[in-house]
């Protein structure tokens, strides 16, 4: 393939560097080995007490620590690790001088409990309230907490550390955030604004309040024992997702720019699509139309037909609702072909890395293309008889894979899909 533009006349967007951290480990090599071996990164939480919680396990990244401890601080460190790996592979620019913009998917930021309790200890009053906290917040002793808990803090740090150009964008589209960060990079390169973009997605937010919030929405699995068996996408007895941490970083470049500097081409971002569901804050429209529309838009953006997709890296959260709706939508678009496409959910092993998931799973999709091997969906012992996907259950499967669709669906009606290919279409 020598054409540098796609059939719509747009610059072809390729991936030249990838970096990843999940509960399975740091780096592509470890992650891929464990993922294809069917290992689980879900474990009982040890970072904080679990007394009183309904869900006591998560895919925490326990081998990385930050001081002082905060979810935003951990998100930042995970993003930095993933970015370092991606940049080393891409060999682009110079150290601290990346020749393009940063698009960062990051969880919403707020002051966290350790810091709030610290303020409470510093405050005086019979019955503490926010006025008491306000009286001790100023004067500069907590200035680092302003830096830490502003929404732009992680992007600012990454932009300064890696020397990305222009205004770094921090974004959230809930569980679709990682896919959106990639989409923004693809669009910028297609517009000809830049030859390269750094797309990073990170989430380090397993903390008590985050867990309680999802728990109160009945979104989490409560099958705590054993933790590795909790996440059961497409199974009849699935009961919710498992919170997890991780980060993914991708260096995107125009095909021309990558070829010109002799960069490794790891895959192609052939298409992206998104379509909003306006039905409900947490539930999909029962007819599945927004997801169907999202998948169709993505195929149209890539200029591909359903028959050209030979693997789906599913959103597959293992909530009763998601997996049912994902099957409904995919079978509507793909028809009979839906039963023949191997489908798998990485979340069975790494859990749901929320803001990072779209990028983490795009990277696993690219590794699938590279190795021609589809990672399994573990804990697939009791298939849901109403979901007629060809689920790659429990054991990895060698297969000829030329094009992967990766789906992300989130609270707030966020639907986004990507199509990744080994070669330009």
């Amino acid at each position: 393939m020598t054409a540098s533009r796609d059939r719509f006349g747009r610059p072809i967007v390729v991936v030249t560097g990838m970096g990843i951290v999940t509960s399975l480990g740091a780096g592509k090599t470890d992650n891929w080995a464990r993922l294809t071996a069917g290992e689980s990164g879900i474990r009982t939480i040890t970072r904080f007490p679990i007394d009183g919680l309904k869900t006591t396990m998560a895919g925490t990244v326990d081998f990385v620590d930050v001081e002082p401890r905060s979810s935003t601080g951990l998100s930042e460190r995970l993003a930095e690790m993933a970015t370092e790996e991606a940049l080393e592979q891409a060999g682009i620019g110079r150290k601290g001088d990346f020749p393009g913009p940063l698009f960062l998917a990051v969880a919403p930021v707020e002051v966290e409990w350790p810091q709030r309790l610290e303020l409470g200890r510093a405050a005086t009053g019979q019955q503490l309230d926010y006025d008491d906290l306000l009286r001790v917040s100023g004067g500069g002793q907590y200035a680092p907490y302003h830096r830490r808990f502003t929404f732009g803090s992680v992007a600012t740090y990454l932009a300064e550390t890696f020397g990305t150009k222009g205004s770094p964008i921090s974004l959230s589209t809930a569980c679709a955030s990682g896919a959106t960060s990639i989409q923004l990079g693809v669009e910028a390169i297609r517009r000809g604004e830049t030859d390269a973009a750094l797309c990073v997605a990170t989430d380090g937010s397993v903390n008590p309040e985050a867990l309680v919030r999802f728990s109160l929405l009945s979104a989490l699995s409560t099958q705590n024992d054993p933790p590795r068996a909790a996440s059961k996408p497409f199974s009849k007895n699935r009961d919710g997702f498992v919170m997890a941490e991780g980060a993914g970083a991708l260096v995107l470049e125009s095909y021309d720019a990558a070829v010109a500097r002799g960069a490794p081409i790891l895959g192609v971002l052939a298409g992206c699509g998104e379509l909003t569901d306006s039905f409900h804050r947490t539930r999909s429209s029962p007819d599945g139309k927004p997801i169907i529309g999202c998948v169709r838009k993505t195929l149209a953006d890539a200029g591909m037909t359903p028959e050209q997709i030979d693997h789906i890296n599913a959103h597959g959260t293992a909530t009763p609702e998601n997996d049912k709706m994902e099957y409904l939508a995919i079978s509507n678009v793909f028809g009979e072909h839906a039963k023949q496409i191997p489908v798998s959910s990485n979340k069975s092993m790494v859990g749901h890395t929320i803001s990072a998931a779209g990028a983490v799973e795009a990277i696993f999709s690219l590794l699938t293309l590279e190795h021609q091997r589809i990672p399994p969906t573990i804990n697939y012992d009791m298939p849901d008889p109403t979901i007629l996907f060809d689920v790659v259950g429990n054991k990895a499967r060698d297969a000829r894979v030329t094009a992967v669709m990766s789906n992300s669906f989130g609270f707030g009606g966020q639907n986004a899909s990507l199509i990744l290919t080994r070669e330009p279409i």
């Binding site: 409470g120 222009g166 770094p168 909003t276």
Partner: protein, 402 residues
């Protein structure tokens, strides 16, 4: 066709065809314009004393958010934004137009939602009383937090609520990162339309300044204006910002799309640029503003500048030094009249620029320091500036349509 077109398909002209404002000065374009021309400012110096905030002017929420159930699912910041977004859609003449709303792109600049202050205080008091049993925090949160509060706090659920209430359901993206998130929302939406990747977009944000949890965050950096209200340019003795409350949304679309549906424009959104100054040395912000100014396009002398200057230092002094190099531009600091609405300040500036151009006048100064001068002629070009209190700089050029 949904697929994006070639980047070399030309650069489409982009018009502002809808404006929605619900601020501390009132609801709608007339109420805000009247307040600006009468130099009215709505500040509360007592309710959050010693901190000063600009309270949201009450509205009849039912007119834009008809279902009480929807109103209950939101916290104030989301209600403000969903309300203002509805006004923008009305203003553009697309409210209820399912064909257009179903393919309308949306980029929202958002922070996060209100915490439940009573729940937080309950935990702190239990901790102060010596309750340090393992899991005590878990148990309090499990029993005290309202299950749906999370959805009222999530950044992307402002966009989610706009989709649910108004049916804006093409695409939905939420940018975070304080002031510059509002710049980038406009920048990316404009770039997509100009390149033919999109035809029409809703952009904007909302902010509720009547929040003690936000005051705590900004108090960490000593950014809150205290004790006595002063205009932005008169805060040398005591720097800082008074948090403001506003929803500001705009509908922007390609000229061709607007003309095809017979939409009347307020103004043209010609350019939006942004950068991240590292702010390591004195003068860095000024240097970045100069660079952005040079990238804006062809600026004629005697124009106007609407700035979201925060009052925080050193950024505001550096911006003022930049402004003194353009002495024939009539400057207005929106922070004086509206307070600092963080992610919303830049969309608010865009809205006021388009409104001023459409009304053929710049509103009068609200400042006695000499920075703001009268503008006797109708503005043809207005530069909107947004330099964040801590990080992030942006500018836009809004022009009368020729």
């Amino acid at each position: 066709m949904t697929e994006t077109k070639s980047s070399n398909s030309g650069s489409a002209e982009v018009w502002i065809t809808g404006i929605g404002l619900a601020t501390s000065l009132g609801e709608g374009l007339d109420a805000n314009w009247d307040a600006l021309t009468e130099r009215r400012i709505n500040v509360d110096e007592k309710g959050f004393a010693p901190y000063i905030v600009h309270p949201w002017a009450p509205v009849n929420l039912d007119t834009q958010i008809p279902k009480k159930g929807d109103q209950r699912q939101m916290e104030a910041w989301q209600r403000i934004g969903t309300y203002a977004a509805g006004l923008a859609l009305d203003s553009a003449g697309v409210k209820g137009n399912k064909e257009i709303l179903g393919r309308m792109d949306m980029i929202v600049a958002a922070g996060g939602g209100e915490r439940d202050l009573a729940v937080d205080a309950g935990v702190l008091n239990a901790a102060a009383a010596g309750n340090s049993a393992p899991g005590f925090l878990n148990e309090r949160l499990m029993s005290d937090l309202r299950p749906t509060l999370f959805l009222a706090q999530l950044s992307n659920l402002l966009a989610g609520n706009i989709a649910i209430v108004h049916g804006v359901s093409g695409t939905s993206r939420t940018f975070m990162g304080e002031e510059v998130a509002g710049v980038d929302a406009a920048r990316i939406a404009l770039a997509r339309i100009a390149a033919g990747q999109s035809d029409i977009a809703l952009i904007g944000g909302s902010h509720n300044g009547q929040r003690k949890d936000l005051l705590v965050l900004y108090e960490f950096g000593d950014y809150n204006l205290k004790d006595k209200f002063e205009p932005v340019w008169a805060r040398q003795k005591q720097s800082g910002f008074a948090l403001g409350s506003a929803g500001a949304f705009l509908v922007i679309e390609s000229r061709a799309h607007a003309e095809a549906r017979g939409a009347k424009p307020y103004a043209r959104l010609t350019n939006v640029v942004a950068d991240l100054s590292q702010r390591r040395q004195s003068g860095d912000v000024k240097t970045t503003l100069e660079k952005l100014w040079s990238e804006l396009g062809n600026l004629e002398d005697g124009g106007a500048i609407l700035t979201g200057a925060t009052g925080a230092e050193p950024a505001t002094s550096e911006e003022q030094a930049f402004l003194t190099e353009h002495p024939d531009f009539a400057v207005r600091a929106t922070g004086t009249m509206f307070g600092h609405t963080m992610e919303t300040q830049f969309p608010l500036g865009l809205a006021l620029a388009a409104l001023s151009i459409s009304r053929g006048a710049l509103f009068p100064p609200t400042d006695s320091s000499g920075v703001e001068i009268e503008m006797p002629k109708p503005p043809a070009q207005i530069v909107v500036i947004g330099a964040g209190h801590w990080r992030g700089e942006g500018m836009a050029l809004v022009e009368a349509i020729k």
